[in-house]
């Protein structure tokens, strides 16, 4: 059986499973559509939230970004897990006690203002749509590879599948499907990592193998990797090269953003009790940590394998020949990935060999001149392909490759579906029913929910054709937006009794607009290529990249809200009482539908 058939079998079987579950648990009422009737156990909820959370960015993209940068990209690991501490301590239990369906309902009620609710809805939609663009990038890579078509064709096919799948059910269908998706994606991520860890270090646990010894050389794995990449003129893997301020702000943006993303927060509305909301955040992080502790090992080990494939005789020996790349079984992955347009090489100096090195490094330029090299000949290695290509690079059996294809799609689909659900509930429940047409029937609400999903996915697909970055980088922008707009409003709503309606609205607007403008200045207006005035290599403000600006936006949000609240009318007594009641778990009933 050839690899294409194996991939098709694995992906087909996993899809049949998800669709089967979605049909079995199809949502009947609006309550089931949004919050699964609140009958979800914390462990089940944790697993589903983990699947919802770990998207194409975590699964497909992150290890690739770590592999090619090393220590400096640890920010993704800390940022995307540390947010759960904020969520568990600062938001989840109180929002569960408040007991409505959506984040914007809380903001509308706490800040006693339909305008606040409207602004929150807009913030949610902007952040979620940006997030879906990142997912579509990942979906394009995964479908492109496994159907062996171009990245663009893969993107269009993927968009169709995501749409069909998300429209099917609401939260209830999605919750149980996501449990299945979690199981598929965690197996798909860890099994190849275990194989590779055994090959390189003899340790079956990749997270420990990362700090173990490299079997072939007897040296510690990371020391060996540092040495090899240094010899090719790249930055040492474990050393700190990035700007420290930018690293801190980027990590903080991801953390705050995690606690401000609607599709994650929504999950904590679906547990039965306030105490369960606290546990649920912990369970979610356990399931996430299984992947996140493995990811740095995947990155480092893949970098070592790739480098050794290009320099089979060591970095001072001969580079791999074009003939070997074209004919040797071990290099077959290069041919298949070349078809997607995401991998490229070129024998620039015509010596029949492919030299992979850092041609921006002065020392390497000298060495290149002495050896007759004319630049790095691995001309394109899209970071988003690393995880999917990893089992092929390590020569693992065909079924492992099929499993990884299924896992990558599970990660992208589960998050895209969760986000589309959050977008559709924001539009139909908060915007239309909550503001514009309060008397809308339940049937029309469900219909408008589905239409808004279709619109969101069309926009994301269009922008996904020219994404503002690799999947994880686009997703990081979405986190920045959520960090700057939603998180501060939620936190102040719970921990302060003095922030009033005007303060919250002004804070959210300032946070959102300033962050969005900063991102557009660097990434292009509406992410349209070539409309940017600055680049992240040389940002507008010092060393602060657009991906790290969310933390600054959040700070501006807090400051604005504080001063505007001081200058305007104090918070009414009944709202202060509401804040008091949110702080105390006692008396949390089942959540009710808001209007």
């Amino acid at each position: 059986m050839d690899q294409f058939t194996i991939n098709l079998l694995f992906v087909g079987a996993s899809f049949a499973l998800y669709i089967g579950i979605a049909i079995w648990a199809r949502a009947g009422s609006t309550s089931e559509f949004y919050a699964a009737g609140r009958g979800v156990h914390p462990v089940t909820n944790g697993m589903a939230t983990a699947a919802d959370w770990m998207s194409a960015a975590s699964f497909i993209s992150m290890a690739g970004l770590i592999a090619f940068t090393g220590y400096d990209n640890s920010t993704f690991l800390m940022g995307w897990t540390g947010g759960y501490v904020l969520l568990a301590l600062l938001l989840a239990p109180y929002l569960r006690k408040f007991g409505k369906f959506t984040v914007s309902e809380f903001i509308g009620d706490r800040f006693y203002s339909p305008t606040a609710r409207l602004v929150a809805v807009i913030c949610l939609i902007v952040a979620s749509v940006t997030y879906v663009i990142g997912q579509m990038t990942g979906v394009g890579v995964a479908f492109g590879r496994f159907l062996e078509v171009s990245n663009e064709t893969g993107l269009f096919i993927g968009a169709g599948v995501v749409f069909a799948y998300a429209v099917f059910g609401g939260m209830k269908g999605v919750t149980y499907t996501q449990v299945a998706q979690y199981c598929v994606l965690i197996m798909a991520y860890t099994i190849p990592a275990i194989f590779i860890s055994l090959q390189l270090t003899g340790n079956p646990i990749p997270a420990l193998g990362l700090f173990g010894d490299h079997v072939a050389s007897g040296e510690p794995l990371l020391a060996k990797l540092d040495q090899i990449v240094r010899e090719l003129g790249f930055n040492e893997y474990t050393a700190h090269h990035a700007d420290t301020l930018n690293m801190v702000l980027f990590t903080l943006s991801l953390m705050i953003g995690t606690a401000g993303l609607p599709h994650v927060i929504m999950r904590f509305f679906t547990v039965p009790k306030v105490s369960d909301a606290r546990w649920s955040a912990g369970w979610t992080l356990i399931f996430i940590a299984l992947l996140y502790l493995t990811a740095p090992a995947v990155g480092a080990m893949a970098r070592l394998n790739i480098t050794e494939q290009f320099w089979p005789n060591g970095t001072s020996g001969e580079a791999v020949s074009v003939e070997t790349i074209e004919n040797d079984e071990a290099y077959k992955w290069m041919g298949t990935w070349q078809k997607t347009g995401l991998l490229g090489w070129e024998d620039k100096n015509g010596d029949g060999k492919i030299q992979y090195y850092n041609d921006a490094n002065a020392e390497m330029q000298e060495k290149a001149a002495a050896n007759g090299w004319e630049g790095n000949e691995l001309t394109n290695f899209n970071r988003d392909i690393l995880v999917l290509a990893n089992p092929e690079i390590a020569n693992l059996p065909g079924w492992v490759i099929g499993l990884v294809a299924a896992g990558g799609l599970a990660a992208a689909l589960s998050t895209a579906a969760g986000l589309l659900l959050a977008i559709s509930s924001a539009v139909s429940h908060d915007l239309l029913k909550g503001q514009l047409t309060p008397n809308m029937s339940e049937k029309n609400e469900l219909l408008s929910a589905r239409i808004s999903m279709a619109v969101a996915i069309a926009v994301a697909t269009y922008l996904g054709l020219n994404p503002p970055g690799f999947a994880a980088q686009t997703v990081a922008l979405a986190f920045g937006l959520a960090a700057a707009s939603i998180f501060p409003a939620l936190m102040m709503g719970i921990f302060s009794k003095t922030i009033n309606n005007k303060g919250a609205v002004a804070g959210m607007l300032v946070g959102l607009v300033v962050t969005l403008v900063y991102i557009f200045l660097h990434k292009g207006w509406l992410f349209i290529p070539d409309t940017n005035s600055f680049t992240d290599a040389d940002p507008l403000l010092g060393t602060i990249k657009s991906t790290s600006f969310g933390a600054v936006g959040a700070l501006l949000n807090f400051i604005t809200a504080y001063f505007v609240s001081k200058a305007t009318a104090p918070v009414p007594q009944e709202i202060q009482d509401l804040v008091e009641s949110v702080r105390i778990p006692k008396g949390a009933g089942a959540a009710v539908e808001g209007h």
Partner: protein
């Protein structure tokens, strides 16, 4: 009135707990993982140093411990102050 003052002491106990947890949260990630890494560079861990380990794995393990510790403490605190569900 007595219920109110009990609620207040419940809330300030909660805030204290949150503060302690967030100090640890920041120390292991921004501290050991990034800013204080040079100070920890003397402690070798598998071919690199302790700061690298905190940045890539250690902080995640501490985050997990923090959340479960907080949930356990708060559920106890709820019962002590009679505000559990």
């Amino acid at each position: 009135m007595s219920e109110n003052s009990d609620n207040n002491s419940y809330w300030s106990a909660n805030i204290r707990l949150i503060q302690i947890c967030l100090v640890i949260w920041a120390l292991v990630s921004f501290g050991f993982g990034i800013l204080l890494r040079p100070m920890l560079s003397g402690i070798a861990v598998g071919g690199t140093d302790l700061g690298f380990w905190f940045a890539q794995q250690g902080s995640i393990l501490v985050f997990l411990a923090l959340i479960f510790f907080y949930a356990w403490r708060m559920n106890k605190l709820d019962a002590e102050h009679g505000v559990e569900e």
